[in-house]
């Protein structure tokens, strides 16, 4: 097995969703941003990542992850 270093090249996944009913987007149109942190952490556990830093604005939430 070749000596391995840390793999820099990323895998990137982009998923788009829609709601049949505008209600699904929540009162402020937050949609997926309404997912609670436990749900996000459950997803990241599957990926084998954890959140080390986070920031948000009116439009979206951004998390820096550590493998």
């Amino acid at each position: 097995m070749a000596v391995s270093g840390f793999e820099g090249f990323e895998k990137r996944l982009e998923l788009h969703f829609f709601g049949d009913d505008p209600k699904n987007m929540g009162t402020l149109g937050l949609g997926l941003r309404l997912l609670d942190f436990d749900s996000i952490q459950e997803v990241l556990d599957e990926v084998q990542c954890t959140v080390v830093s986070a920031v948000a604005n009116h439009y979206f939430d951004a998390y820096v992850l550590s493998e």
């Binding site: 969703f17 941003r33 309404l34 749900s39």
Partner: protein, 280 residues
């Protein structure tokens, strides 16, 4: 690695040997059960791994990844396409899988977004002196956040998009990740600075209506921060206009375009994959 959560879109971009595709089942479940939201399209992209044999299944080869994706996605996403976009160098290829409920190349079925494009840049063989900026200083009594902030300023990354609010982190003993937020547009940088397999990525969202000079200025700054020997640039856009800006920006910086491949994908639009080498 990074995660972006928009109201109707989620982007996860992870390095190392992470099991990214295992995120799909819990994401679909929570979106549906918690929020009543349904998946309309999916796009998976990656370059060539430097250490492919270190990857776990299914990332051992793209066919396995495609089978895994096909089995994870609902049948409603019936328009699907997988392609490995070539370049002139065997070590560089761009792997794309896209699936949608609509057989359209306008971005994610939303023609309002047709002017937007996503730029995914992968840089290898970073300039050694510049890569050294992404090592923690022993005994710097900083944490990941404060060391990350220091790297962001020291390297000039804060100047790539001066408007962006930056969330950054420096790993120990080396490595760096940042997310930028500028209105409804994200950007992100991940750096693996170790000599022999140094790598940096830059991703951002732009619009074909943006000032042309803005793209040139931004790419020039990215090149100044990392000075890579090789760069690959993937542009995903409904219109055919975005990718020409990239070549126009990089060639005056001393980079020669070695290859250019284009292909159409459901919901993603046109993906143009270009590779560049430093002429020096």
């Amino acid at each position: 690695s990074s995660l972006f959560v928009y109201p109707t879109k989620i982007i996860i971009k992870t390095c190392g040997t992470t099991q990214l595709l295992k995120s799909i089942p819990p994401l679909l479940r929570h979106a549906s059960l918690d929020l009543g939201l349904t998946l309309s399209s999916c796009r998976y992209t990656r370059g060539n791994f430097i250490f492919p044999r270190a990857q776990p299944f299914p990332y051992t080869n793209f066919q396995n990844e495609v089978v895994y994706l096909e089995e994870s996605l609902p049948a409603a996403l019936c328009y699907r396409k997988a392609s490995v976009m070539p370049s002139k160098t065997p070590s560089h290829a761009w792997h794309v899988f896209s699936a949608s409920t609509q057989n359209t190349t306008c971005r994610f079925g939303d023609s309002d977004d047709d002017d937007l494009y996503t730029l995914e840049i992968c840089m290898t063989e970073l300039d050694r002196d510049l890569a050294r900026n992404f090592f923690r200083r022993p005994g710097d009594d900083k944490n990941g956040d404060s060391a990350g902030k220091e790297m962001t300023e020291l390297t000039g990354i804060s100047q790539i998009n001066p408007r962006a609010l930056i969330c950054d982190f420096a790993f120990d003993p080396c490595g760096y990740s940042m997310n930028g937020i500028d209105g409804d547009r994200h950007s992100t940088i991940h750096v693996t600075p170790e000599d022999g397999y140094s790598y940096a990525s830059f991703e951002c969202v732009g619009s074909v209506y943006d000032d042309r000079e803005e793209v040139v200025r931004m790419l020039k700054k990215v090149v100044q921060v990392f000075r890579p020997a090789t760069m690959s640039v993937s542009t995903t856009c409904a219109s055919h206009e975005a990718w020409t800006r990239v070549a126009g920006a990089l060639e005056p910086l001393g980079f020669k375009c070695r290859s250019c491949a284009a292909d159409e994908f459901p919901a993603a639009g046109t993906v143009v994959y270009q590779t560049f080498v430093d002429r020096r």
